[in-house]
């Protein structure tokens, strides 16, 4: 297998994204005494280009999906799909991040579980935590939130659908009084006198 450089990967994926390509950058970061570098490719694309780009990426090397990260930027929600390729080859792994920006009026994205089944955990989490509809998700149930968690509240959103102030429990502000010690049953035997 011939290993592509980060720039070659970015160019290949840009071609696969076609009109859906927005921007790309390659970064490097060195740690340790020998200055060996880890490498990252960041690609910003449209939602429509996500699946063709990912299929092209899977042709290069089967990607390991790490997680789908998110950011609420106000009018939009950014989803960052983090993949690793060339895992299993010492120090050659490359992080490929595909970013898509979704308007809050149309929070839909296609499922990628058809290509990588391991993305299911992260997609279920995006649905319940951000209110994103993952189209054709094989299992759309909630994952981390309890079944009785209110509908329409999305913990990771920064707008009016986020966690309302009355759901926030400030533990530091919990004085002894809030433990309601006064309604606890009395001790059956008197406390022994302290010496």
């Amino acid at each position: 297998m011939k290993l592509l450089t980060p720039q070659e990967i970015a160019d290949t994926l840009q071609a696969a994204a076609g009109a859906g390509f927005i921007s790309a950058r390659c970064t490097e970061w060195a740690e340790g005494a020998k200055g060996r570098k880890s490498r990252q490719v960041w690609l910003h694309i449209t939602r429509e280009a996500l699946l063709p780009t990912l299929r092209r990426l899977a042709d290069i090397h089967y990607p390991h999906v790490s997680v789908i990260a998110h950011a609420d930027t106000g009018a939009q929600v950014d989803l960052m799909y983090h993949f690793y390729i060339y895992w299993g080859i010492p120090r050659e792994e490359i992080l490929v991040t595909l970013t898509i920006s979704l308007d809050k009026s149309d929070l839909r994205t296609p499922t990628i579980t058809g290509i990588i089944p391991g993305a299911l955990t992260s997609e279920r989490e995006k649905q319940e935590m951000l209110g994103i509809e993952v189209v054709d998700i094989p299992d759309g149930r909630r994952l981390f939130l309890p079944e009785d968690f209110p509908e329409g509240v999305y913990p990771w959103r920064k707008d009016e659908t986020g966690i309302p102030p009355d759901m926030v429990k400030e533990l530091w502000a919990t004085g002894r009084d809030s433990l309601q010690l006064d309604d606890t049953p009395p001790a059956p035997t008197p406390e022994p006198p302290t010496a």
């Binding site: 390991h64 992080l95 391991g118 299911l120 955990t121 309890p146 009785d148 429990k169 606890t184």
Partner: protein
């Protein structure tokens, strides 16, 4: 006469969890069973949510380190190192090489103690309690060493953005070497107890199998992936910290047994091999550790001012004992707090592998299969908030009252004697 049609169910639905003696932390398994055999497995995590990411978006980056460290009690360095590595990349802070080495040394000591903890839990799940006591007694040695080096058994508070907060000095090296010698001997004993024992082999061989292809598609990490032959290890794949200078091998079970079966036994093999590997890595790191400063920016106020000006996004990663931990951080100029913080714990990636492992196995195998991925529920469940005013969710006050009532009942029965 009216005939009543009786439908005989061919199988049963059974729930294990969320709180169950076989599980160390709360997670629920929903199983369709036929006799003793599991036909279909499903799981529901989320019982120990604390809302840590939400809290992190309301704190500055230095405060988030301490919050991140408290995501998990076993991985004391994992989350803090991942978070600071992301922030360092955004702010372009070059960490001194000595600090990289110290980070890696603490990371390896943590791996030794976590794997031994797991070995004890696994032995206990099998009903092999003498091995459980052996593993946990041996583990105390590394806990003492970690306390000696960092001041704490858990939550080491070693990591700062741009370096580490405490040095490992030359005077401390003999004490570390003493422990490494202890573990050289302990490894031989543990390997004999865990790998040569007939009962362990009968319970774990070909039980809870995850094939290479399943592992490739479901994307597990750490020993769970490596036991199925997936060569994936952040320390090898991705040069970082002191690991970047060392030549580290992927620990797959075939190194010891000559084959990869992807069963529970292989997961024990991988973790034991990694204990041995960690001992060697600690020695190499100590040998190669250069002199130099510990922090890139020693003054927290200067550091905070620099972070306030930093903008961008980055990913910080670390190979935790259970596999890759990954933090995504996005900073904006002019803001103290991160605008986005996503934590991906290692067990988050490993959960889906439970399903192929459990299906087709017996109910009695659930504890060891559940434990075989070394699930860290508290790492993975950290996102939402417990809702108040709900009958099914007990409030703190109610729980406290119930607990006091029980104590009073016990006291009453004692005084009545």
């Amino acid at each position: 006469m009216k005939t009543i049609e009786v439908k005989k169910p061919s199988g049963y639905f059974t729930q294990i969890g969320p709180a169950h003696p076989a599980l160390k932390e709360p997670v629920m398994f929903n199983l369709d069973v036929e006799g003793e055999r599991i036909i279909k497995a499903d799981f529901a995590p989320g019982m120990s949510h604390r809302g840590i990411e939400w809290m992190g978006l309301r704190r500055n980056c230095i405060q988030v380190i301490y919050l991140a460290e408290r995501i998990c009690g076993i991985c004391g360095i994992t989350h803090s190192i991942s978070f600071v590595r992301a922030v360092e990349q955004i702010a372009q802070i070059q960490v001194p090489v000595r600090a990289h080495y110290i980070r890696s040394i603490v990371g390896e000591l943590e791996r030794i103690h976590s794997h031994l903890l797991w070995a004890g839990v696994a032995a206990h799940e099998l009903g092999f309690d003498s091995a459980f006591y052996l593993a946990w007694r041996v583990r105390e040695n590394v806990m003492d060493l970690v306390e000696y080096l960092t001041g704490n058994r858990v939550h080491y508070a070693m990591i700062q953005i741009g370096g580490v907060r405490r040095d490992i000095t030359r005077e401390q090296f003999p004490r570390i070497e003493e422990s490494m010698k202890f573990f050289d001997n302990a490894y031989d004993q543990l390997a004999r107890v865990f790998l040569d024992d007939t009962t362990v082999q009968m319970r774990c061989r070909d039980c809870g199998v995850l094939t290479y292809e399943e592992a490739r598609q479901l994307c597990p990490v750490g020993p769970t992936a490596r036991a199925s032959g997936i060569k994936k290890d952040v320390r090898v794949d991705h040069p970082y910290a002191g690991y970047a200078d060392l030549d580290i091998e992927y620990m797959t079970p075939d190194r010891l047994t000559g084959e990869v079966r992807g069963d529970v036994y292989d997961r024990i093999v991988v973790r034991l091999l990694e204990v041995k590997q960690s001992i060697a890595l600690v020695r190499q790191l100590l040998e190669q550790m250069p002199d130099g400063p510990l922090l890139a920016i020693p003054k927290p106020a200067v550091l905070l001012a620099k972070l306030k000006g930093a903008a961008g996004e980055a990913v910080g990663r670390h190979e935790a004992p259970r596999g890759e931990v990954m933090h995504y951080v996005r900073l904006e100029a002019g803001k103290d707090e991160p605008v986005s913080w996503k934590v991906k714990a290692s067990s988050y990636s490993n959960y889906l592998s439970w399903i192929p492992m459990m299906e087709g196995e017996q109910i009695a195998d659930i504890p060891i299969i559940a434990a075989s991925i070394d699930p860290c529920i508290s790492c993975t469940d950290r996102v939402a908030l417990v809702q108040d005013g709900n009958r099914r969710v007990l409030t703190k006050a109610e729980l406290h009252r119930l607990s006091v009532e029980k104590t009073r009942r016990i006291q009453a029965s004692l005084s009545a004697r």
